[in-house]
Amino acid sequence: MNSDRFQRLENQGARTQRLLWASTKTKDPEASDTLYVHGLAAPFTINTMPDDTLEAFYDHGEVGEPLPEDGGDVDARLARFTQAAVDLSALAARLQRDGASSFVNDWNDLLARIGTQASSLTGVPGA
């Protein structure tokens, strides 16, 4: 984004695409309720969260150092997983597959719900 090429585009009105952290509510009940909001603080990004997470961060959240632009010690950390015999590529592929399939299921459930609700409201089967 700091390149001359992008700066020229920006002068022409181009807008930077921002990274979005989606649904950063803490899933583990044992962990801090502001874990991901704290950990994913970074300028020029978006963080989406439900109202209870927002309220928790408003109430007792703390802003620390922003995420390092160069990824910090990410390589060393990932190497430790590999040393512990975790297949990172396989795990990443599985997470992506599971995530996508969960969204497909939600979408199909939603369409089924709309069909049921419309039928019961209008009395027309399959409306």
Binding site: R18, A22, S23, T34, V37, A41, A42, P43, F44, T45, I46, N47, T48, M49, P50, D51, L54, E55, F57, Y58, H60, G61, E62, V63, P66, F103, D106, W107, D109, L110, L111, R113, I114, G115, Q117, A118, L121, T122, V124, G126, A127
Partner: protein, 82 residues
Amino acid sequence: MKATEVLHQRGQSLWLDNVTSGLLDDGAIQKFIDSYSVTGLTSNPSIFDKAIGSGGYDDAIRAEAAKGLSGEKLFFALAGSW
């Protein structure tokens, strides 16, 4: 300064990820904007599923179904109906 405002000041956008039509109707959204520095809203199929199941869209469903809409077309009409 509250932590939510600090993040906002440092250039991170905070969005509420479970917007409902009720939140807009009763004005509760104003609190999120004023107090929690919220600058955006988003939703997902699961949230719509619950909202539709709880009857929140019944009037809109009647109106759109009467126009002959169903399935995905009905959904996008509902999603844009507030």
